[in-house]
C-alpha cells in the first residue's frame, strides 16, 4: 500500500477548520459535510460508496486521525454505517454511509485502515453485510462449527433470516469443521490453546499457534466464546436496564463503560452533570484504573512465575478492592453511575480512608517496581519480548497502555477531553520500545498518575448536588466516550421516541487491541506466549460483549 506522507506520530492537534477545507478540496464531489453535536463534531455524508476507502485512507494516513470504530444501524428504510475517526485535540468525526436495505454490499476499508478489519468481520457476522475485497470474512463471532451461514442475529426481528431462538437447542457442532491453517512448512503443526485452559482461571479464549517447533510463526486468536449479544439484548429495553448491561459486560472496567453509556444518554437529553458528580466520577474512574493496573501487574508477575512479587501485587490489588468496597459498597464499582450523575454521595471519612488506601497502594507499587527493576531473571522474560514497534502500533491503531508503550500518545483524557479532565495536572506516560517491559513501566507510571488525579479531584470537591434528572422522552442518538483502563471505549446509543434503546453499540479497547495482539506473539518462543498475553492485559469479556 502506498501511503502518502504518513505521519507516524499523528499531530498533537488536528484543526477542524483546516480539515474541513482539506476535505472540501479533495472530496467535495462525493461528500456533504454537516456540523453536528451529540458527541460527534463533524459528519461526512458520503454520496458514493466507492469513495469510502479513499476518504478513510485520507483521514487516517494523511490527516493522522485515529480510527474509532464502525457503527452499523438498521433503520426501517436503510442501512446506516458510521465510521468514527478521532481528530486529535478537536473531537470525533464520522463518515456516514447510507445504503438501501436490499443492498448488502459495502466497500471494505480494511486495506486502507487495518484497524477496521475486525469491525467489518463483526458487521458481516451480525448483520449479514458483505464487505467487498475484505481479505477474510466468516467464522468470527458466530463460530462456523455451530452457526449456520447467514444467521445475522443482530438484524431487526421482523427481518431476521434465521430464528436463532428456535434453533438454539437443536444446534449440534459440525464435526467436519477445521480451523484455517496457514503455515505449510514440512513438520509444521498447530498448537491449540483454550478455550478452557490456564487451570480454568483464565478467560475463555482460543488461540491457534502455528509453529515448526520453537517459535510461533502465526498466532490466530479465536475469540467470542463469551459473546452474549449485549448490544442486541439492550434493544427495546429501558435506559436503566441497558445501564445494568453496560456495567456488567466487562467488570474490570465496569465504571468506565457505565460512564461512557451515561454520558451518551446525557448528551441525548442535553443534560450536564453537576460539578461535584463530575469530580466524583473522576475519582471513581481513576480508582478503577489504579485497581486494574495493579491486577495487570499481578498477572505479569504470575506469568513469569515470580511468586513473591505476584503475591505482593495481589495484596495491593485486594486492598484496593476492599477499599473500593468500603468506599462505595461494591468491590467492582457497580451501581454507582446513572445518567445525570451518581447514585450516591460519600462523606469525608470515606474520602480519608480512600486516600489512605490509595496512598498505601502507590507506595507499595513503587517499592515493587524498584525490586522488579533489579530482578534480572524477571527482566530477561520481558525485555525485547513481544515487541510491537511504533509503525505497527500506528498501523493497527493500538490503544491504551499497550499503544502508549509503543510510542502512541493516544489518550482520550487529553485528546478529546471529557468529564473535566482538563482541570487536572497529570501526565500521559509513554515509552517507545514496545516490548513487555515498556508495557509494564507504562502500567506502573499510569497507576501513579491515577493516584495523583484522585488526590487532586478529592481536594477540589465542593459540596453540591450529585445528580440532575435525566429522563429521555424523545428520540435521538449520541456518542459517549471514556478512556477505560485499557484504552478508548466508545458507546453509541440511539433512543426511540418513547425513550427506549433502539440501538446500543459498545466499541471497546480490548476488541481493538486483540486485533494487534498476534503481532506481538509471532516470532517469539512458545514459553513467551503467556507472558506476552499478560503484558497486553486484555479482557475477553470486554471484547466479546
Amino acid at each position: 500500500m502506498s501511503v502518502v506522507g504518513s505521519p507516524l506520530v499523528p499531530p498533537e492537534r488536528i484543526d477542524l477548520d483546516g480539515l474541513v477545507a482539506a476535505i472540501q478540496e479533495r472530496f467535495s464531489a462525493v461528500v456533504s459535510l454537516s456540523r453536528a453535536d451529540k458527541g460527534v463534531l463533524l459528519s461526512l455524508h458520503l454520496k458514493d460508496p466507492e469513495s469510502l476507502p479513499p476518504l478513510s485512507l485520507f483521514l487516517y494516513w494523511e490527516i493522522g486521525c485515529s480510527f474509532g470504530g464502525l457503527i452499523v444501524e438498521e433503520h426501517s428504510h436503510a442501512w446506516q454505517l458510521r465510521y468514527l475517526f478521532l481528530a486529535s485535540g478537536s473531537g470525533w468525526i464520522d463518515i456516514v454511509l447510507e445504503l438501501p436495505l436490499g443492498g448488502r454490499s459495502v466497500p471494505s476499508i480494511t486495506a486502507a485502515v487495518h484497524a477496521a478489519d475486525w469491525h467489518e468481520r463483526e458487521a458481516e457476522d451480525l448483520f449479514g453485510l458483505q464487505f467487498e475485497n475484505h481479505p477474510r470474512l466468516g467464522d468470527f463471532i458466530l463460530h462456523d462449527q455451530i452457526w449456520p451461514e447467514g444467521a445475522a442475529p443482530h438484524r431487526k426481528p421482523q427481518r431476521k433470516s434465521v430464528d436463532v431462538h428456535q434453533t438454539q437447542l437443536r444446534r449440534r457442532p459440525n464435526p467436519n469443521w477445521r480451523p484455517l491453517l496457514v503455515v505449510q512448512d514440512p513438520g509444521s503443526f498447530a498448537m491449540p490453546v483454550g478455550p478452557v485452559y490456564e487451570g480454568g482461571i483464565g478467560e475463555s479464549l482460543h488461540f491457534i499457534l502455528e509453529t515448526v517447533g520453537e517459535d510461533v510463526l502465526r498466532a490466530a486468536p479465536r475469540l467470542f466464546y463469551k459473546f452474549r449479544g449485549v448490544e442486541k439484548i439492550a434493544e427495546g429495553t429501558r435506559v436503566s436496564h441497558a445501564l445494568l448491561l453496560s456495567e456488567r459486560f466487562a467488570a474490570k472496567s465496569s465504571f468506565a463503560h457505565s460512564l461512557a453509556f451515561s454520558s451518551a444518554i446525557e448528551k441525548i437529553c442535553d443534560v450536564e452533570v453537576p460539578p461535584r458528580a463530575a469530580r466524583l466520577r473522576v475519582i471513581l474512574a481513576e480508582l478503577e484504573r489504579l485497581r486494574h493496573h495493579a491486577g495487570a501487574i499481578t498477572g505479569i508477575c504470575e506469568s513469569t512465575a515470580l511468586s513473591v512479587a505476584a503475591s505482593q501485587a495481589a495484596i495491593i490489588e485486594e486492598e484496593l478492592l476492599r477499599a473500593s468496597c468500603h468506599f462505595t459498597g461494591h468491590r467492582y464499582l457497580f451501581g454507582l453511575n446513572k445518567p445525570g450523575g451518581l447514585r450516591r454521595d460519600f462523606n469525608s471519612d470515606g474520602f480519608r480512608d480512600l486516600l489512605n488506601a490509595v496512598g498505601r497502594a502507590v507506595d507499595e507499587l513503587r517499592i515493587l517496581e524498584n525490586r522488579l527493576h533489579f530482578t534480572s531473571s524477571f527482566l530477561d522474560r520481558l525485555e525485547d519480548v513481544g515487541v510491537v514497534d511504533p509503525n505497527k502500533a500506528r498501523d493497527l491503531n493500538l490503544l491504551g497502555p499497550v499503544g502508549r508503550a509503543s510510542g502512541r500518545c493516544h489518550d482520550l483524557r487529553r485528546e478529546c477531553s471529557y468529564g473535566g479532565y482538563g482541570d487536572y495536572q497529570f501526565e500521559v506516560p509513554r515509552e517507545n520500545e514496545g516490548d513487555g517491559y515498556a508495557r509494564l513501566r507504562v502500567l506502573f507510571a499510569e497507576a501513579a498518575q491515577s493516584a495523583k488525579l484522585i488526590r487532586q479531584a478529592v481536594d477540589s470537591l465542593q459540596p453540591g448536588p450529585i445528580s440532575v434528572p435525566c429522563e429521555a422522552t424523545h428520540s435521538g442518538a449520541a456518542l459517549g466516550w471514556v478512556e477505560a483502563p485499557i484504552g478508548a471505549a466508545l458507546h453509541w446509543v440511539r433512543l426511540d421516541s418513547s425513550g427506549l434503546v433502539e440501538r446500543y453499540r459498545a466499541i471497546t479497547p480490548s476488541f481493538n487491541n486483540w486485533l494487534g495482539f498476534h503481532v506481538a506473539v509471532e516470532d517469539f518462543a512458545f514459553q513467551d506466549f503467556p507472558i506476552i498475553l499478560a503484558t497486553f492485559a486484555l479482557s475477553a469479556a470486554e471484547c466479546d460483549r
Partner: protein, 251 residues
C-alpha cells in the same frame, strides 16, 4: 535477589482466619439486601418498584428479596425513598432447585479438593474473585483446595457466567471429562439465573439449563469469602445457608 525472600517475610502473615474465626475486615464483602419490614404494603411495593430485575417481592408490609436474581445494583440501598436493610455477611451458598437432598462429598475430600473452573461467558468479576482465592489473604491452599488445569483430576466444576452459546459445548465436554463423584457449583447471579443477560439467543440463562447444578453461590460477584464458603460446603465443612422459597419462579 534474596531481597524477595525478605520482602515476603517483612509483610508477615496476611491470611484470613476464616473459617476458624469470622472475618470482619472492612470491604471483604459488599453485603446483601435482606427482607425488610415497612410500615405499609404500599411502601413495600414502592421499594419493590425500584428493583430493575424484580428481585424484591412485596408480601404485605414486608419486602422479601429473591437473592438468586439480585444483581447487587444497590438501587435498594442508596438513593431510593424506601431503602432495604443490608447485611454484611458472606455465607450465602445454598442448594440448587431440586437438590434438597444434596449429599456433600465424602470426608476423604476435605483436605484435597480439586476445582475445575469454567468461564462460560462471565463478565470477569466472578472469575476474578475466584482467582483471588489464591491470593495471600484467602490462600485456599491452606484449606486443601486446589485449582486444577485438567478436568480429569477435578472433583468440583465451578461455573461462572450465564453459559454463552459458544461456550456450551466446551462446558459440556469439560463436565463429561470429569470423573465421578463430582459436584457442580454455579457462581454468581449470571450462572444461577442468567442475571442481566437473561435467557436469549446467545445466553442459556444459567448453568442449570445445561447441567445439573448442585450448589449455588449468589452474588454479583460473590466476594472471595462467599466462594470459599461454598467450596467448604461442598465437602460439608461448613453448613449451607437455607434455601429460599422460589417466589413462584421455578428454575
Amino acid at each position: 535477589m534474596s531481597f524477595w525472600f525478605w520482602h515476603g517475610l517483612s509483610n508477615g502473615v496476611r491470611s484470613t482466619g476464616y473459617p476458624r474465626v469470622p472475618e470482619s475486615a472492612p470491604g471483604v464483602t459488599p453485603g446483601r439486601p435482606v427482607a425488610t419490614e415497612f410500615s405499609s404494603a404500599e411502601r413495600s411495593s414502592l421499594a419493590a418498584a425500584d428493583c430493575p430485575v424484580d428481585a424484591i417481592v412485596p408480601r404485605g408490609a414486608s419486602a422479601l428479596v429473591d437473592l438468586r436474581s439480585c444483581v447487587y445494583c444497590q438501587r435498594c440501598r442508596f438513593g431510593g425513598a424506601y431503602p432495604l436493610q443490608w447485611t454484611q455477611d458472606h455465607e450465602w451458598t445454598t442448594v440448587a432447585a431440586g437438590r434438597e437432598n444434596y449429599v456433600p462429598l465424602p470426608r476423604s475430600y476435605r483436605r484435597s479438593l480439586h476445582i475445575m473452573v469454567v468461564d462460560a461467558g462471565d463478565c470477569g468479576a466472578c472469575l476474578h474473585e475466584v482467582k483471588h482465592l489464591n491470593n495471600p489473604f484467602y490462600n485456599a491452599h491452606r484449606l486443601g483446595i486446589f485449582f486444577t488445569a485438567t478436568p480429569r483430576s477435578a472433583d468440583v466444576l465451578l461455573v461462572v457466567g450465564p453459559v454463552s452459546e459458544n461456550m456450551r459445548v466446551p462446558l459440556l465436554k469439560t463436565y463429561e471429562a470429569m470423573p465421578t463423584p463430582k459436584r457442580i457449583v454455579a457462581v454468581g447471579a449470571c450462572a444461577i439465573t442468567g442475571g442481566v443477560f437473561g435467557r436469549g439467543f446467545m445466553s442459556a440463562g444459567g448453568v442449570s439449563s445445561v447441567l445439573p447444578v448442585d450448589l449455588e453461590i449468589p452474588g454479583d460477584p460473590p466476594p472471595p469469602l462467599a466462594i470459599l464458603h461454598g467450596l467448604l460446603a461442598v465437602t460439608g465443612r461448613k453448613a449451607l445457608a437455607p434455601r429460599q422459597p422460589d417466589f413462584g419462579r421455578t428454575a
